[in-house]
């Protein structure tokens, strides 16, 4: 290679590095595909085999013939009950915890302890939450096996989701907003109530939706605290037991004989439909928010 001709010619080492670069990039793209494609494939099997079973009757009728026929209406209503009550418990606790951590807490040992507690609440296995629910809510507080006990268990489990999402959206608000309000003589709480919360409302909402999505899908925490195998009627108060979509799916898949082959897929499709549309709403909301905010 002549020195003059090499000006725009990649050297051998450059060529090698470029080859390595493109090989590495293809390999990484391949690993991403290996992770995503089987999962997508399996989910599409779920849709293909579950979709024929969906109908108006499927959603609006109660199960018949030891669950092998009929619909999932009581389980749907039960899941709505469980999720709503769990939200009623988790929301005030979670949002106030996030307000404390974002607006009041100093960088001291107590704050560190709270953060450790949140990390661990999120990491404790769901079946351990179930044991806690049995010990604390069913037995100690004497709620019995009821919607209330199951929802409290779910609330403790989803608390970290709400706290983390809310804290993030509160901290995303520029400090100057708060300072402007303080300089007008407002108290800390007036600032939070009139400025901080209204400006982070949609951020908090995404956290709430994620929390709902999590509560809807959980099975282990409600198995022994409030959800049961079969009840033809929807619960009338928080002291009643209930069916739930997730536990129903577990039962028709493993516990009962003579279930038609497509039924678990239809129930799974319903459950995953609810959960994923919740997440889709939350993602869409977040994107819209990011597009709009200019501070």
């Amino acid at each position: 290679m002549s020195p003059s001709g090499s000006t725009f010619q990649p050297t051998a080492s450059e060529q090698r590095r470029r080859k390595q670069q493109s090989a590495a990039q293809s390999l990484l793209a391949l690993t991403t595909a290996m992770l995503a494609l089987p999962a997508l494939g399996i989910l599409s099997i779920l849709i293909i085999r579950g979709f024929p079973g969906l109908s108006a009757e499927f959603f609006l009728e109660e199960p018949r013939n030891v669950m092998s026929a009929g619909g999932i209406f009581p389980a749907l209503v039960g899941t709505v009950w469980l999720t709503a009550v769990a939200l009623l418990v988790a929301l005030p606790l979670g949002i106030s915890a996030a307000i404390y951590l974002s607006e009041y807490a100093k960088d001291n040992w107590l704050t560190g302890l709270i953060n450790i507690a949140i990390v661990n609440l999120a990491g404790v296995p769901s079946i351990v939450h179930a044991l806690f629910g049995v010990g604390a809510f069913v037995l100690f507080l004497d709620f019995g096996v009821s919607v209330l006990a199951a929802s409290c268990t779910l609330a403790v489990m989803t608390l970290p989701v709400i706290i983390v999402a809310t804290r993030e959206s509160l901290q995303a608000l520029p400090q100057s907003f708060r300072e402007a309000c303080w300089s007008l003589g407002a108290t800390r709480w007036q600032t939070i109530w009139r400025v901080v919360l209204p400006n982070s409302g949609s951020g908090i909402l995404t956290g709430v939706i994620l929390c709902v999505s999590r509560a809807v899908g959980e099975t282990a925490p409600i198995m022994f605290t409030g959800a049961v195998l079969y009840l033809p009627v929807a619960p009338e108060s928080v002291w009643d037991q209930t069916m739930a979509l997730s536990l129903h799916l577990y039962n028709v898949s493993t516990q009962l004989p003579g279930i038609p082959e497509g039924l678990p897929f239809s129930v799974a499709l319903t459950l995953i439909g609810v959960v994923l549309s919740m997440n889709a709403i939350s993602i869409a909301l977040r994107m819209k928010l990011r597009g709009r905010k200019k501070w």
Partner: protein
Amino acid sequence: MSDEAAKQHRLTAMEFDRRDRSWWTDMFAKALVFGGGVSAIVFIVGILVFIATQGLEFAANRLSWTEFFTSIAWRPNSQKPEYGALALIAGTVSTTAVAMVLVVPLSLGAAIYIGEFARGKKREWLKILIEMLAAVPSVVWGVIGLNVMGPFITDVFGVPSGLNLLNAGIILGMMAAPIMTTIAEDALKAVPDSYREAAEALGATKWQVVLRVVLPHARPGLSAAVLLGVGRAFGETIAVLMASGHAINVPKSLFDPIRSLTATIAAELGETAEGDDHYQALFVVGMLLFTITFFINMIANAIVRGTRRKKA
């Protein structure tokens, strides 16, 4: 000072007393949100206390710890009940190990691809896809293990039952992968762009930047991501229960059915009576799970915090 002046002085002091209604509201609100903040501590301590006390009497008086950790015989319902958890521990450890071997390289590779190579719309969609996969409920993964992966493994490998260690490992891996990918990508994002720019200015290719600059700096965050994935796989309950075959067994091959600690609690708690030995033994298993996941989370947390402090 004259009387008149003293009176004047008192008035001013009262004017500066800001303890009006909004001050009291502020104090009240502060106490309220403080309560919310502390509730997280209350709950985690509550979990520890309630699980420990439910199993305490049996653990202190009748449980042989040597049997618990060294015997593979878990026979709570026989005439002479035995509570050896070794096979259950082996089940949990082996499924977690299989899951990690399968997906740690894939998750880290995907995180590097999404974080460093993918751009624009492709990157957005990949991130959404990962987030959606993380949201799939564990009971749905269980159904997939039972009804899709099970028959598939039976056909492909010609084994009598597709519900085994391999199945549970694959399902757990798919569940843990989105979490590991997300956290690993965050760790990559935390490496300052100026590091990349400096390396690129020296003529390094994208891959050299990743290999020589980004990865070494993100290593603690990446190990935290793997640890949290391990924690997730370790504590997963319903999916393992449905996909693993649920047989008490120390696995010798990938095609042996196994049973995990978590699945044992889920399957057996319903058939116990409150306070009897079997019930208490399940709480002891729960205590073991709590302790292990607690340490996994603490270590991961310490790694993440350690790097953050070093940067600041």
